[in-house]
């Protein structure tokens, strides 16, 4: 059984005053195995964000199923959704989404606090993660006191601390400079190597080139996918750019 199984997802938005309907996802199906590192690429408006919101249980599809370890998250009642999200999914966002009212430490502990974990357990979980991400020194600081790269590492720590089955990352390098991006991508590699399943949504060829598999979405459908196999990051980078070029030039003759 795959860790995540997405079947025939369809999402249609009705505009506010009825009438015009916009189809964001036409028919999306794919699955992710335990321990995989999957990137989803696509142009603006391809349906990436809609897909991510549905996977994150923040939005409901018009039809289709999302199975996480065989459990259909579309069917989870609203009351249990937040707890489900907290315990099974981890999120990393483009603009970090750290709360400026909390110290870095408290930002990371937030999901555990919401799950009512005991203080010693929280600290026990925090220490190794902070050490691995190299943020032990900045734990008492506040988000406005640290750099973008540090913020994103704090956000990754927050995503990992609940030991989620799946980490969803939405353009995690989007707001970082190239050095910080490189560091973060290497970190994600390491985390994946340690067994964490990661689903990355991105524009960036470089970010996607770190993944084990790349899905391309166009007009609300999975258009193509690339497997890394034994290719290096550089070779993967080349293959992704070629695919994107083909997509941009070849797919649109009608």
């Amino acid at each position: 059984m795959p860790l995540l199984d997405v079947r025939n997802l369809k999402k249609i938005y009705a505009t506010r005053f009825g009438g015009v309907q916009v189809q964001a996802l036409a028919d999306v199906s794919f699955s992710v195995e335990q321990g995989e590192y999957v990137a989803i690429m696509g142009e603006s408006g391809a349906g990436k964000t809609t897909l991510l919101n549905i996977l994150a249980a923040l939005d409901k599809p018009t039809s289709g199923e999302v199975l996480l370890r065989g459990k259909n998250i579309v069917r989870i009642p609203d009351k249990q959704l937040s707890a489900f999200r907290r315990e099974h999914l981890g999120f990393v966002f483009q603009d970090f989404n750290l709360l400026d009212t909390f110290s870095v430490k408290d930002n990371i502990l937030l999901p555990l606090v919401l799950s009512r974990k005991a203080v010693p357990e929280m600290e026990q979980r925090l220490d190794p993660i902070a050490a691995k991400l190299g943020i032990t020194d900045i734990l008492p600081k506040f988000p406005y006191e640290i750099s973008g790269g540090q913020k994103q590492r704090a956000a990754v720590a927050r995503a990992l601390i609940t030991q989620p089955e799946l980490v969803l990352a939405d353009e995690p390098t989007g707001a970082l400079d190239s050095k910080a991006s490189g560091q973060l991508l290497r970190l994600l590699d390491e985390i994946n190597a340690a067994g964490q399943t990661i689903l990355l949504v991105t524009h960036s060829t470089r970010a996607a080139s770190h993944a084990g598999r790349v899905l391309f979405i166009k007009d609300g459908e999975v258009f193509h996918q690339l497997y890394r196999g034994s290719a290096s990051n550089e070779a993967m980078f080349q293959r992704i750019s070629d695919t994107l070029t083909a997509l941009a030039t070849g797919g649109d003759f009608s």
């Binding site: 609203d78 009351k79 937040s82 400026d100 606090v113 919401l114 009512r116 406005y144």
Partner: protein, 663 residues
């Protein structure tokens, strides 16, 4: 091609687009103009001057005019400052789009011009209508009848217009300064500079506790009215300073201490609430402290002025055993008893009223401090000893008035007090001591009031001595009488209609005025005077109360707005991290409730602590009815709390609308 109407049109569009923040500002300005105009036009109404008793009202009103003008200026400035901070981004955008600073300035000139014109014009128009209504209400409250004409004075219109034009000019200047100082990039980011976590200032927090404690201590320990009036101002200053210090530093210190307690802090509700409040308190502490102080002022102003106004009849009853007292000095060429009687009878006949309960007695009167059985006319017993107004009279006169036939052995005395019982076995005045043969339950000249309800620090005390000689000796020693006879008082109540009673009192006073050694006191004259004084106070109290209330409502509204803008993003993140909508909602509600009801709770606490000292001060005005003052205070606090809650509910909708999109 240059279109002259470009800037005015741009200005109008801006005002319309910012209506969410702008309309309340405009409304505030209009109400300020209206209030100022109303109070000013009443205070300078020239037909008041013909009434001697109303001179007080005008004096009180003119004080009010000053307070209102200063307060209006502060309020308009505060609101304007809030608006311009919100608009920094927009102004930065204009700059980047190619408008020079002088163009932005020109646009702002028109904005201010439109605001000023509209606010002043509608404020004056409403003021003209409103002041007419208020004028009639005031006349009723002062018992003046509607004989006085209302006047529309161009000078008042002009003064109001000029004052507010100047205030608006200053807001324009401060806005221009903001634009000139800033560069476009700063303006663009003006709304969202990363806020630092506030530092804990323990010294300020401790100073706050000390100030507040000091103020409260003064308020509850002061016993004598004289000390209360002296120390009240100090107490108010301490409480204001303490409130500001505690809201700013104290709240942060407390919250940070809570945060250090891991067991308490790392649970969902305290976790979000404590960290959110630390952040909120930094930005809101001053505003909340201001709301708290304003609220306290509203409650106390209205409660005290209302008590004075409503308690007048009670105070008059207590002050006057009989409605009219005519006192004369028979020695040194003063009037004899027969002459006084003749004069009173003649005046009664002229006015068409009759006298009842008529009595004549010899007496001497002076003030003395009391400590156990010791009475000190020098009043040197320290501030804790109550001050009594003593009236000493001979047994013979008492028996005649009371229709009794009591006897007193030499060295004995009868005692009566109208408030707290005398409670001692002796009366010692200087070298002389009398033993209290009986503490009387009733007295022909005064009524016993429910002692427990009244302050024990003032009161009337009647002492009956065996012989007139003893009374005369006391009058020589302490009563300021050098003659060989005691003063005589003729007291009576009046029967007839109210106007005749007042005219009787007035004409008797005029007749007595040129006669040496005479004096008179009439409840009907004092009532007229008090109604104008306390009516004026109350009227102004309600006015200022309404103005403070408006300011409070406005600050609450703007606080809700700025909170809403800030929280929108925060709650979205909390949801993504795994908080349910329900949890988010309840967190919002509890935080908002805490932030907005803290000032009210503290204001009510201030009011409770101010109660004893206000009561002591009111006894100096003659109001010692505790129940009345308590009811007035509790009623005012209740009505205020309801209004506060209504304001909160109305403005909270704005907040929920702002954050509502995300939840």
């Amino acid at each position: 091609m240059r279109d002259l109407s470009f800037y005015p049109r741009l200005a109008l569009t801006n005002l319309k687009n910012n209506r969410q923040t702008y309309y309340p500002y405009l409304l505030t300005c209009i109400l300020c103009v209206m209030t100022f105009y109303t109070v000013l036009s009443i205070s300078v109404n020239s037909s008041f001057e013909s009434l001697p008793s109303a001179a007080w009202v005008q004096m009180v009103m003119i004080q009010g005019v000053f307070i209102i003008s200063i307060f209006s200026a502060i309020l308009i400035f505060y609101t304007n400052g809030f608006l311009i901070r919100r608009r920094k981004r927009e102004l930065g955008l204009y700059n980047i789009l190619g408008m020079e600073k002088r163009h932005v300035g020109r646009m702002m000139l028109f904005e201010t011009l439109f605001t000023a014109l509209f606010a002043i014009a509608s404020g004056l128009l409403l003021g003209i209508v409103f002041s007419r209504v208020m004028f009639l209400i005031l006349l009723r409250m002062l018992h003046l009848g509607s004989s006085i004409a209302f006047q529309l004075s161009p000078a008042v219109l002009i003064v109001t217009a000029v004052l507010f034009a100047v205030i608006f000019l200053f807001t324009l200047l401060s806005n221009l300064r903001q634009v000139r100082l800033a560069n476009p990039v700063e303006l663009l980011h003006g709304g969202q500079v990363g806020e630092r976590e506030p530092r804990t200032s323990w010294p300020t927090a401790i100073a706050g506790v000390l100030c507040l404690g000091g103020g409260y201590a003064i308020a509850v320990t002061v016993k004598s009215p004289a000390a209360a009036i002296l120390l009240f101002f100090l107490a108010v200053m301490l409480v204001i300073a303490g409130t500001y210090a505690l809201f700013t530093a104290g709240s942060i210190a407390l919250l940070k201490t809570l945060r250090k307690n891991k067991k308490f802090y790392y649970r969902p509700k305290p976790f979000i609430a404590v960290s959110g409040l630390i952040y909120r308190m930094k930005q809101n502490a001053k505003g909340l402290a201001s709301i708290c102080i304003l609220s306290t002022m509203v409650i106390l102003t209205i409660a005290t002025t209302l008590s004075l106004y409503a308690g007048q009849e009670g105070m008059l009853d207590r002050e006057f055993g009989r409605e009219v007292t005519v006192s004369a000095r028979p020695s040194e060429g003063g009037l004899t008893e027969e002459e006084v009687d003749a004069l009173v009878d003649e005046t009664l006949a002229e006015a068409g009223v009759t006298a009842i309960h008529r009595n004549t007695y010899r007496y001497t009167t002076f003030m003395a401090q009391k400590q156990d059985g010791l009475l000190s006319p020098q009043q040197d017993l320290g501030p804790a000893a109550p001050v009594l107004s003593l009236t000493v009279l001979p047994l013979e006169d008492y028996n005649r008035m009371a229709g009794q036939n009591r006897t007193l052995a030499p060295g004995q005395a009868l005692v009566f007090t109208d408030g707290t019982p005398y409670g001692s076995g002796t009366v010692t005045l200087g070298q002389d001591t009398w033993y209290v043969a009986e503490e009387l339950d009733s007295f022909p000249l005064a009524e016993r009031t429910k002692a427990a309800l009244f302050s024990s620090y003032t009161g009337e005390c009647y002492i009956v001595l065996p012989t007139a000689e003893e009374v005369l000796t006391l009058s020589h020693l302490y009563g300021g009488n050098a003659g060989d006879q005691l003063r005589r008082a003729c007291t009576f109540d009046l029967e007839g209609d109210d106007a005749a009673k007042t005219s009787f009192s007035g004409s008797l006073q005029e007749k007595l005025l040129p006669l040496p050694g005479t004096s008179m006191n009439s409840v009907h004259l004092v009532r007229e005077y008090w109604y104008s004084l306390y009516g004026g106070f109350f009227f102004l109290g309600v006015f200022l109360g309404a103005l403070f209330m408006m300011a409070t409502a406005l600050i609450i509204y703007y606080k809700q707005l700025s909170e809403g803008f800030e929280d929108r993003g925060r709650f979205l993140i909390l949801q993504q991290v795994g908080m349910s909508q329900k949890e988010v909602r309840s967190t919002i509600r509890s935080q908002i409730l805490m932030v907005f009801f803290l000032p009210l709770a503290v204001a009510l606490l201030h009011t409770a602590f101010a109660f004893p000292v206000m009561r002591t001060i009111l006894t100096a005005f003659g109001l010692s009815d505790l129940v009345l003052f308590f009811l007035c205070t509790a009623g005012t606090a209740l009505v205020f709390s309801l209004l506060y809650f209504a304001t909160y509910s109305l403005t909270a909708r704005t907040y929920y609308k702002l954050v509502g999109h995300t939840i």
